[in-house]
Amino acid sequence: MQDWKKILMTIYTPDIGSLWAVPNKVWNNGFAHNKAGEDLHPALVERIAPCKTITHIIPGTTKDYKQGSCVFKIKINQKDPAAITSFFLIKLSMPFTKDTLISLSQGWDGVDVLNEKQLADFKMQLKFCKG
């Protein structure tokens, strides 16, 4: 007997490590203040709250704003040698409703979800930063 509500929740919950094109306006701290509100940048899903309605997303940027363990440095599309490196600012993780997130477009640089290796690196970096 299937638990349809659970299945529905699983299918419509974004994966950890999935990439989304998010407008700058969702961040209202210094990171986005110097950008036009509607500018898009990549965001990475860090975790899903137990209620499964809130996701925590981390903003990505092409500029190395901060250095140290709380930055996840990655070339998103590894098949493209010309692809630029992105820096995900782990410390700026913020809650975002799942419904709003899935109404945005998924993917960045032709990649929807980090591959296994990238995901493992990402989780490792999260551990370094957040313990």
């Binding site: 349809w4 209620c51 899935i102």
Partner: protein, 318 residues
């Protein structure tokens, strides 16, 4: 006078309830009504929820309680309840009856601001931190640093996209829902919140929209809606299953449409595929589902997934 007397309960079960026994039950029910401050409007809908209980209202409550006991078959197995527990058993039945009435009442009127306020304050006192300033009380889920208020975000804007709690007949206890609302608010808003503003925000997270219309949708219109949705799903389901092989369908059925998905390792060896390809295949299909159809609510989503499951199952078994 806070327990049902077993003698009178047995008289009632034997159909020999005396006037004295009836008065006893009336007074016990009256005691619990006052103790729990049950609103009279759950029994007599014509009255306001703040109206006083009159003697006839208590009598009406008892009549409805007895009727409920019979209709729901609550007395069918009462002979199995030991005498020493019967009094407690009847009290639990009374509380169960009242929660049914409250849930019925909520279905037609929504939840009141005062009810939400009372529960919110209980939870706040229990597990959140507070600080007072200028005769105002501020609450936070961490340390209350009122200096933070100067850079605080717009609370309304922050909670605007939080999911609403739809009041259904299944909701009998509001406390867990109020608690979830509070946790969601503090999860998206990391500043101390003034008490009244916080209670207002919690109240607004309860979806009362259906109670603002004078009429409910008729049963027929719901059926029409369901038929409409079902026929609409065909387009989305067809596009999702287009070009899928039987093996693909088996993979999706075994991973996405089960309560506890197996590990990717075991699935990869079962279907003799590299784990990374399997991961990609499942992630792509999952994305395709969520972009092809965004359900309007939970029931709509379940209906849609059931149709998709049938279509996948059909191809998998061809």
């Amino acid at each position: 006078m806070n327990r049902f007397n077993i003698v009178y309960i047995n008289d009632l079960l034997n159909g020999k309830l005396s006037i004295e026994g009836y008065n006893h039950i009336l007074s016990v029910v009256g005691y619990y009504t006052k103790l729990n401050q049950w609103p009279v409007s759950i029994i007599v809908p014509e009255k306001n929820r703040d109206s006083r209980w009159e003697k006839e209202d208590y009598e009406e409550l008892i009549q409805q309680y007895f009727e409920w006991l019979l209709v729901k078959g609550k007395l069918n197995y009462v002979h199995k309840v030991p005498d020493s527990y019967r009094s407690y058993y009847f009290l639990q039945l009374l509380i169960s009856f009242i929660s049914d009435k409250i849930s019925e009442y909520q279905k037609t009127t929504g939840v009141s601001y005062n009810a939400i306020k009372k529960i919110t304050l209980e939870i706040l006192e229990d597990r959140f931190r507070k600080k007072e300033r200028d005769a105002k009380v501020f609450w936070s889920d961490g340390d209350v640093i009122l200096e933070d208020m100067s850079v605080s975000q717009d609370l309304d804007e922050c909670i605007r996209s939080l999911p609403r709690v739809v009041i259904t007949e299944k909701i009998k206890h509001l406390k867990p829902h109020v608690k979830n609302c509070l946790l969601s608010i503090f999860e998206v808003y990391h500043f101390p919140i003034e008490q009244e503003a916080l209670i207002n925000s919690v109240y607004r997270l309860f979806d009362q929209s259906q109670y603002h219309t004078t009429e409910f949708h008729s049963q027929n219109s719901n059926v029409e809606l369901e038929v409409d949705s079902a026929s609409n799903y065909k387009v989305q389901v067809d596009s999702l299953v287009l070009n899928l092989s039987a093996s693909d369908c088996q993979i999706f059925l075994s991973y996405l449409f089960v309560n506890d998905p197996p590990s990717l390792d075991s699935l990869a060896s079962k279907f003799n595929l590299p784990k990374s390809s399997l991961h990609l295949k499942i992630a792509s299909f999952k994305k395709k589902i969520s972009t092809t159809y965004i359900p309007v609510n939970q029931d709509d989503g379940v209906l849609f997934l059931e149709k998709l499951h049938i279509a996948l199952d059909k191809i998998a078994n061809e």
